[in-house]
């Protein structure tokens, strides 16, 4: 608002005067207005930082008693017990009030969050990069535009609608028609043996991960598409003129050119996957206090636990359950931040061959 006011001011000059001149005149005309703009800019610049610190601070303050009482075992135990039924006693341990018999361990939440996000990325990244290459280099312009529109529409579907589809249609389909086939054919070796065994009822890590993939694909694909569009034609022509195939050109020229940007896009998608709440809560089964047996049976994530357990947590008169949820939220933030930092380090490592300056990425 404040920024646009001087431009609109009629005294700044008649229609024909170029914008910078008019803006300059208006700003000289009113020092106060300039101050407003300057301060609006300063405040605007600090709001993201301030809000991050505020959220972190409040969360930390809320969670501190829980962090003290739950200790390090919070990260290693699989237990979710708010206390002894209807006649719980309020007890004080280390100066922290909680219900007798309450005990919390977040291992299933942490494993579930990372597991669903990994499944989502493993599926979404190749699909997205392939789709982006296809849109830019193969599809005729009209079709590429159409696919782009659908990509953006997909990104705009509310997560609760995706979750509903996942719970009602997609989950049962996976459980009945896909999971049994995979489970039968997977070899019994580490990692892959999580894909064996009981195929569940359609609520589990695999379904949640795939639902997340659907929500991550538009983000990664649209960003990657825009990146690939920026790759200059000259090195690509050079590759073609050298007799490289389209696939070689994409793998050796186009994608390396935008490598760091693609990593950024993947982190964007990962952030979405880690924090996505509703769709996962609707498709994961929210199994508290135990690790899932395999990728088909019910499990939970940090976000799903917080949203589904919050109501119950408010019933804890000592407030300790809510404090534990705050601690859980803090863990999620740390995981997300760690993913961001990790990606930055990765970008620094993989951007081995420096690109020309001003490559427009």
């Amino acid at each position: 608002m404040a920024a646009s006011a001087p431009v609109a001011k009629p005294e700044g000059g008649a229609g024909g005067v170029p914008l910078p001149l008019r803006l300059g005149a208006a700003m000289r005309g009113s020092a106060r207005r300039g101050d407003v703009i300057r301060w609006a800019g300063r405040i605007g610049a600090f709001i993201p930082l301030l809000s991050l610190c505020a959220i972190m601070g409040v969360l930390l303050f809320e969670a501190l008693p829980a962090i003290r009482l739950n200790g390090w075992s919070f990260f290693t135990r699989s237990v979710w017990n708010e206390g002894t039924g209807y006649n719980a006693q309020i007890v004080t341990t280390d100066g922290v009030k909680h219900l007798s018999g309450s005990s919390y361990g977040a291992l299933p939440e942490i494993v579930g969050t990372i597991g669903t996000s990994l499944i989502a990325l493993v599926v979404a990244v190749p699909v997205s990069v392939g789709a982006a290459l296809m849109i830019v280099e193969r599809l005729p312009r009209r079709l590429a535009y159409l696919v782009g529109v659908f990509l953006e529409l997909l990104a705009g579907i509310p997560s609760v609608v995706v979750g509903l589809w996942g719970a009602v249609t997609f989950g049962p389909f996976i459980a009945h028609d896909v999971a049994p086939v995979i489970a039968r054919n997977m070899p019994d070796v580490p990692v892959l043996n999580f894909f064996r065994g009981n195929t569940g009822n359609g609520e589990g890590m695999l379904v949640s991960g795939l639902v997340l993939a659907i929500m991550v694909i538009p983000i990664v694909a649209a960003t990657t598409r825009d990146l690939i569009r920026q790759v200059p034609i000259l090195p690509r022509e050079g590759a073609i003129a050298l007799g490289m195939s389209d696939a070689q050109c994409a793998r050796r020229i186009t994608l390396p050119w935008v490598r760091s940007g693609i990593i950024g896009a993947v982190v964007l998608g990962l952030g979405r996957a880690l924090g996505e709440t509703m769709a996962v809560a609707m498709t994961c089964g929210v199994l508290l206090g135990a690790l899932p047996g395999n990728v088909y049976t019910t499990m939970t994530t940090i976000a799903a636990t917080i949203v589904t357990y919050l109501d119950t947590a408010f019933l804890d008169a000592t407030g300790f359950a809510v404090r534990t949820l705050a601690e859980l939220g803090l863990v999620l933030m740390v995981i997300t931040l760690a993913a961001n930092v990790g990606a930055r380090l990765l970008v620094r490592r993989v951007s081995g061959t420096a690109l020309p300056i001003g490559r427009g990425v």
Binding site: G238, G243, M244, T353, L355
Partner: protein
Amino acid sequence: MNHSHVRGTVSNPAGHPQGDPSVAPASAGPGRPPGALGAALKAEGLASPQTRAGGAAICTLGLTLGFQQRDVLCNIDLDVAQGKVTALLGPTGSGKTTLLRTFNRMNDMVSGYRHSGDVLLDGRSIWRSGLDTMALRRKVGMLFQRPNPFPMSILDNVVAGVKAHRLAGRAGIRPIAERHLREVGLWDAVATRLKDSPFRLSGGQQQLLCLARALAVDPDVLLLDEPTSSLDPVATESIEALIRTLVPRLTVVIVTHNLAQARRVSDRTVFLNRGRLVEHGDTGQVFENPAEAETAEYISGRFG
């Protein structure tokens, strides 16, 4: 020099710059309708041995091509002499770059591209069915207006084509890189930083690197599309000197706006104007004694 070679008549074998004037100069004028030779050859199904044997690496036969409605090249009959440097000259929009990019089928990707007539490489059509365009482009290398290194190390740049075509095993890669970097005179400058980014090299060095990359896949023909237009005089000179060392091993076709450059590096000169082939002859003759008035005007700087 009093003889003139006009329009697609190459008769001298490689290595003898003074052409044999025995072939009657077929004028572009009333003597013979343009394209008749091409049509005749096409009727025979092959390049005729008298006019085409020995000398020509690339023959175009009545080549007409365009994009969408617009004709860019019109009825071009041209023999590109084997083992020589042929310069394509002409004002902007004369179709010389399009002609150059036809030889390795780089125009195929442009939307609305169409062509009639034929282009023969070593006597065989570049549009024949079953031809592997990637193999064709390996045999017909190209250098562009601006250096276009790939986003990989200097070493990987040189051998990018070698790897893509699997021309050498893992152990053979480095010797190939060294040989071709030496060939273009870049070895001493980059020997200690083969793993570095090519984008830190100067423009001239980058273009030399691209030349080494093109040479590393062992092409028969090298197409140069204004290769020095973005370079300084020193780099230009080194590229030009290199071009002269490539013949007669390779056939070189160079598009240039720079008349002096055409004169310095080429054995044969082709003058194109508005999509038509106006004149083709030995470089000295075209510059000193052009057969066509249009050529004379262009050479003397009166247009273009």
